[in-house]
Structure formats: C-alpha cells, structure tokens
Symmetry: C2
Subunit: 477 residues, 2 copies
C-alpha cells in the first residue's frame, strides 16, 4: 500500500485537530461490519462541510485515496479503506431539522437514521426506510448504499425518500443536486446517480428527505404455514388482492428453529418449526378496520394458524422473534454468507423450490428470511470456517444462488450494495456494456480515482480474508 | 446544417420501409409542441428494438445526430431535431402488460400514458403520473422529461414509478438498468440518470412501472378565497395538518377569469373572479369519510365559500373548469411563455406577493395555476408578438420569474424539462461545477455527441424563433 507522509502532514497542518493520526483512531476507522481491517493513514472528522472541500483538494493534488464512512455498519466492506489513504468520518455533521408544513427533513449526512425517525415522529411525520442497524447507521451511509428495510414493499427505499442532496464532487467542488421541492426536472439527475454509488461518485454532506404522515393505526398478525412454498404462494395471493401490508416478514423453517432455540419458546404456539409470515398493517383507524376483515379471511383460508396482536406490547413480542432469528444463526456455523438478494414475486415459488434443493445439495443450513412485499430475502449460508468441505460447499452455494437469482429476473443485492462482498457477482447482474458505462461515468467524475477505490468493479472474494473476532454494537444479539 | 446523404442511403438499405424519407414524414417529425420546425434527413419507425441498435451503429460510424420522439407533446423543443440528422419515432413499440400480482406494468416506450393507466385500472391498479397530454404522450417521453401531473404531490412523478428501464447506450449497446423488483442496489444507478435526461444519455425502449392499488373512493371539493395569498396560506395549513389531497389545484384570479370567459359561467357561483383551490381526495371508503370531516372544518374556517361534488358527474364538471383555463388564455395575448416552475411550500406567500408585483410591473396578464401539493405552478406570461414593448416586457418578466424562483429555493422546471426553452435559465439553477459534471457524464456516455445534440447546455432563446401557426390535437381547447 502506497503511503503519503507529505500529503498527510499537509492535511494535518491544514485541518489540525480534525485530523486523527493515532493508531487507535486509524484502527477504529479501518473496518466496517465486514470486519476486515485495512489501515488508513489518517482519519478526518470534519466540523464543517467546507473541511471536506479542503480534504479533496489535497487528495486530488497528492493522489491520496479518500474513503467516506458513517458508523461503518455496512456488511459489504464498502466503508473499508482497502487502498489505505484517508478516511472521512462524517459523524460530527449531524443536524436534523423537520419542515412540518412541507413534510420534509433537512439533515446532515452524519445524522443517524433513528435520529431522523424520532425527529419526524415528534412532528407527526414518518420516515419509513429502516435498516435493522437504524440506531447506529447514518443517513449518509443509507444514501450511499440505497438502504432499504422492512417497509420497502409498501413505502419504498431510501432513494424513494431523497428529495435533494448536497456535497462534493470527487474533484472537490461543492454541488447541490435538486431543491427542497417534490418536483424537479432541470438538468441531468446526478442526485440519483449519487444515491447507491457507495461513496465512489461524490461525497454526500446533507440531504432533504421526504416524509409521509405518521399512520394513526397499526395492526399486527402472525401466520404459520405448512411449508415454505405454501407461505410464499399465500403471500402472492394477498398482494394479488391489492392488499399492501406496511411490513410482511417471512421466516423459513430454519430461521424459526433458530429463533426458537434462541428464545426457548415456540414462535407460534402449537406450530413449532413451521415457517411464518409476520404482517403489520398501517393506516387510518377505519382503514385498518376495513383491512382486518379482508386479511383475516385470507388467513382463514391460507394459513395453518394465525393470531393477532391485541395491543402494541403483544405486537412487540412478535417482532422480537423476527429480530432474534439472525443472531441465533451462529449456532449453525461460525461463518455466514449473508446475501440480500431480490426475487420477483412471480418467481417466489420457483425460488422456494430452488432453495430447498440448495439446502439438500450443499448439506449446509441456509436459514432464509426477509421482506415479501418486495421480494428482498436474506439468505444466510452458514458454515464452519475451519471445515474445508463446508467452506467449499458455501462458496459453491453462493455462486449457484446468485446465478439463480439473476436467471429468475432478480437482483444480487436489494439493500446492502456491492462494496467488496458482491464484486464476484456484479457481472452476473450487468452486461459488459453496462459495466463499461458505469466505469466511464466513474472516470468522468473522478478522473484521478480518489473516492473509495478498489470497490465495485475489482473482484474480491471477501470470504477468503481474515475476519476480526470482535462484537459490534449492532450485531444481532 | 450538415447533410449525410451516404449515411442516410445506408440507413435506408439497412432498414427499408422502416425509414421514411418523404417530405411529409420528415416535416411531421420536425417539431414538437414548441412548434418550431427543424427538418431531419430521415424518420425511422422501428418495428423491433434491435432496429435501434442498427440506427445507432450507423449514426456513430457516420457522425449523424439522432433525436428520439414519442408523440412530440413536449413544450420545450426537446424533441425537435435542431441539428437535423435522423429522428427515431418510437410509437410502433407500444405493448403494455400488467403484472397484477406484483402491481407492475411492463411497457414499451411508445405506449401512451393513457394506455398504461387504462390497462392498470382494468386490473384494479393505478398509475398516478398524469401529464395533461396523457391521451397522446408516450411513456418514453414521460421518462425523458420526468413528467409529472396533478397527482405529483401525494403520489410522486414519473421517476417515482419507474422500477427498471431498458434500451440503448448512445454508442449503440443494448442495456438494462434495474430488474422488475422494488429493491435493487447493485451497481451505479444509470436508470435514474436516464430518467429526465431528455434523450441525451440513452434511448429508452421499455420500462417496468410501479403501480399502486386503485383507490376505492374519491371526493372532490371546490373552495374559493378572497385573494391569492389567503388561498396559498390556507393550503399550507392543510398540509401542516398532514392532510394529503390526491390533487390540489390552484387557479389564480386571472386563470379563473379566463375560464369564466371561455365557459360563460362563473367558476364558483356567487364568487365570480375569486381564486379557487380544487381538491380531490382518494383512498378507502371509510378513510375518505374520516377525511371529509377534517377538510370541511378547514374549509369552514379558511375559505370564502366551498362546495363538494355530490357525485362523479359533478366532480367532472368542476375538473372541466380546470382544463378550460389554459386554452382560454390566448384571449389575453397571442403568445405565451408557459413556465412550470416550482416553489417550496414555506415560500408560497412570498411567491404570491412577487407574482402580484410582476403583474403590475410588466403590465402583462400572467394567469397562474398549478399543483399546490408540490409547489409546481404554471406561470403563463401572455403577450402579443407584434407588440415590441409587450415582447420585451415578457422577456424581462420571465427572467425575473426564474431568478426569483431560484432565490426562493425552487426549481426552474418541475415537469417539462429543459429542452431548448429553459436553456437560458439552466445556469441560474446550477453552479458551474454542476454543469461541468453533467457535461462530463454526457461526454463519457456519448463521446461522439450523437443523441439529441444542441439541447440543455447551449443557450437558445426559443421565443425569438418563428412559431408555426398550427393546432395540435392536445392543444388546450
């Protein structure tokens, strides 16, 4: 890794205490949730947006890589400075202001997702995107990977709620893409080009987010099914009836068993080990009353068993199950390939059959759960690192999974992004001309290759790297 | 204008009857709703998407401009082949297929907006973007300018409903951006870069569109106000209460007078010449019942007068007024600068005061109407072409309007796009670094400058050009 002592000294002179050269500071910024460490030369914690312009000016002059990070909750390695250089930690820029008339949040990139949700709710508004790390992850990071969450099917993902962004081009100029208005049709749309570009095409310092009215009523229903295919078919029937649950979470048999082992309780009393779908409906009070009737009729005919939450406490208990299943998976193996694939609804049953075959042929546990309203499933391939044949089976399984997802018209990532982890599969998703066009855009906006180099296009098999054995606050309990 | 007889002969040999070299055919493709004619050398009407690949291959080899058009309803000149070359008319590619389970429409670029709406409605689904030319304009054109319509405030614009697009890079390669899934986070987002790029960064041949459930109930209310500022303030209070009308159309005094002259009836009986807001609410039956109560209480305290539509026929009568006002404006002048600006809600009253001053200082009629839920107002500067002082006053007024809109944090175009018409104002909206970044992206994707040259970045004062005196089917009656 090339070092830049002169440039780093110049940076320190320019920005003083905002530049951290300590071993501890650099180590803490050397990895994200992929837990693979690449040490940067310096960590910069801007106090004002213009600091970022200074950093980029020096970086371009001295050809130093710059990797931007929020809290580093991404699982893909996208926030890891794989080529060293400098890391920009955005967390000091964290103002949140709600425009209660227009239903918009004006936020700095370093504000957490939860801070935005809380501020919005205090004014009767709702910000739906909710990655599971929402207490920790920043809006800047959410924009970088176009984060989703459980509400994606009905309400949409981060992209659907970003009205405007501001920040810096890779070459260091300050720019604003869009205005704080719901309509904007003036010039090429670099706002959305930035969203999901994983810190490679620009640095987002702030955004205007769209809010929607906070729903007055919520209603939660847990349903159990005989098997996975039946569950997925039932979900499809619900959507066909144009019913739009706010959340529609599926847990397959293996995920349910994990949750049951973790909690010592059956997920659905009397239906131990059955796949479940957990539904939440949100809307006006009478709207929800109308829906209940229709949804209960559906459950009656489709599900093996169902039970509604009588109140928010009961609902919370049901959601606790969903949150438990992910961490409990580490009883099935000490390594996990967590793939956030997406399958189009028309192919749900085909995918369920494929997954059953994959579990048999790989002889690995592959607990799967996820968001049925948008087809975004988390497929968790569990294995033991020290076991060579399991490791090989896992590598084969992930390749087959990705090939099948693309063949079924789906996506290799729904909400995590590419980073390092998905680079071996990018060319399954995209034709050579598509990759070429993306690289041409990168070259046009970042001619010196400053921002987050080594990601997206270079193939890295992240599972071959040594993973640090550390516990992060947002790791599933 | 440079001619390309050899290239055009090669094109004719390659695509035969799909290439129209007749004077009539070329004339009909020489203009859009801006009614300024630029004759192309050939019109190509592809029968299959691969024809477009052939056209682009020849165009790149021989350096011939290619301008794509649907029905040519755009008011900006974006579909006019200003540098001649070839025009691609997409209207033969017009399949529409509804996926009723997933709530998606799979459409070809040449399908009309109305065809998509009708097909969706037949399956109980709803496609909200509704430009006023919806019976004529194509989805490809809607995507090119990120078209909006009356439903933008609550539901969003074209961009919010495009899940995936396919088509050709300027250099001729076939590409697909996104999959038919609501989540996709794999690679740079060239889908949204294409949306709103006005045929300059790629050719859209088809799209997957998101649909939402068709609302079960609608309710229409007409409200009259003492003056414009009161009306705009009242609207802001409604939004502050987090009430989201599906449509919220404002007509200022001059627009109302136009409609009244056109129809010979008062818009609001007993309140002749008063500004009005026409509201439509959409949702579940009991949801709308709940809303009525709240909205009527608002109207009681805020409006001078109000009346609800008792049924769909009465509602239709009210909407007829809205549709009449635009055409009737030509009694105030034979020329119109129709600007689809956007103002942030917090500045509605400031904008109303500015507009009143502008009307006084310019001594021109400037009837204004538009979509209050998203701040997208149509400001119509009316003048007589033969009158030099009126013409100069109009030019001064449009410049002041654009400067004010940007100063108020708004957008110079909300749904029409830039084309030729808005080119004098693009640099008010965007910093030099932003324009440079857009041009770098254009250069990266279209190195030979084939697609729709002469638009967006070159300043053209469209009002100086001779306008053809023709009536187009979608001209407001």
């Amino acid at each position: 890794m090339k070092l830049h002592p002169q440039a780093t000294a110049a940076l320190k002179r320019r920005l003083g205490a905002r530049v951290d050269l300590s071993s501890e500071g650099r180590w803490a910024a050397s990895f994200d949730s992929s837990k693979i460490s690449f040490l940067p030369e310096a960590v910069i914690r801007p106090r004002a947006e213009k600091d970022i312009g200074s950093v980029l000016e020096l970086a371009n002059r001295h050809r130093v890589s710059v990797t931007v990070r929020g809290r580093g909750t991404t699982l893909t390695g996208a926030a890891a400075p794989v080529q060293g250089g400098w890391v920009l930690d955005m967390r000091r820029l964290k103002r949140v202001r709600i425009d209660a008339d227009a239903g918009m949040a004006h936020v700095d990139a370093g504000a957490t997702n939860a801070a935005v949700q809380t501020a919005a709710a205090a004014k009767g508004w709702f910000y739906p995107p909710d990655p599971s790390s929402k207490e920790y992850c920043t809006i800047g990071g959410n924009i970088a990977c176009n984060a989703g969450g459980m509400h994606g099917g009905k309400y949409g993902v981060t992209r659907d709620f970003v009205i405007a962004v501001r920040g810096f081009l890779p070459t260091g100029e300050y720019v604003e893409w869009g205005t704080a208005t719901k309509k904007f049709s003036a010039g090429f749309n670099l706002r959305d080009l930035w969203i999901g570009s994983e810190g490679m095409l620009g640095i987002v310092t702030g955004a205007v987010l769209k809010l929607i009215p906070q729903p007055a009523a919520r209603w939660t229903l847990l349903t159990a099914f005989a098997d996975e295919a039946t569950a997925l078919k039932a979900a499809r029937l619900l959507f066909r009836a144009r019913v739009q649950p706010a959340i529609c979470e599926f847990l397959d048999r293996e995920s349910v068993l994990c949750a049951e082992r973790a909690t010592g309780k059956t997920v659905f009393p009397g239906q131990a080990g059955r796949p479940v779908i957990l539904l939440e409906f949100a809307g006006g009070v009478s709207e929800i009353d109308d829906l209940k009737f229709e949804v209960l009729a559906w459950a009656q005919t489709q599900a093996l068993a169902f039970k509604e939450a009588k109140n928010r406490e009961e609902a919370e208990e049901l959601w606790a199950v969903r949150r438990k299943c992910s961490g409990a998976m580490f009883e099935l193996g000490d390594a996990k390939l967590n793939e956030d694939i997406v399958v189009p609804m028309r192919n749900y049953e085909k995918f369920a059959r494929f997954l059953a075959r994959l579990k048999r042929s790989s002889k690995l546990p592959i607990p799967t759960f996820g968001h049925l309203a948008d087809g975004n499933l988390h497929v968790n391939i569990m294995y033991h690192r020290a076991n060579a044949s399991e490791t090989m089976a896992a590598e084969t399984a992930v390749q087959k999974l990705m090939e099948t997802v693309v063949a079924l018209g789906g996506a290799i990532s729904g909400e995590h992004g590419i980073g390092l982890a998905k680079t071996p599969f990018l060319r399954l998703q995209h034709r050579p001309a598509q990759i070429k066009a993306m690289q041409a855009v990168k070259q046009a906006l970042d001619p010196r290759g400053i921002l987050n180099p080594g990601k997206m296009f270079e193939v890295v098999r992240i599972w071959k790297y040594e993973k640090m054995q550390i516990k992060l606050p947002w790791d599933h309990k």
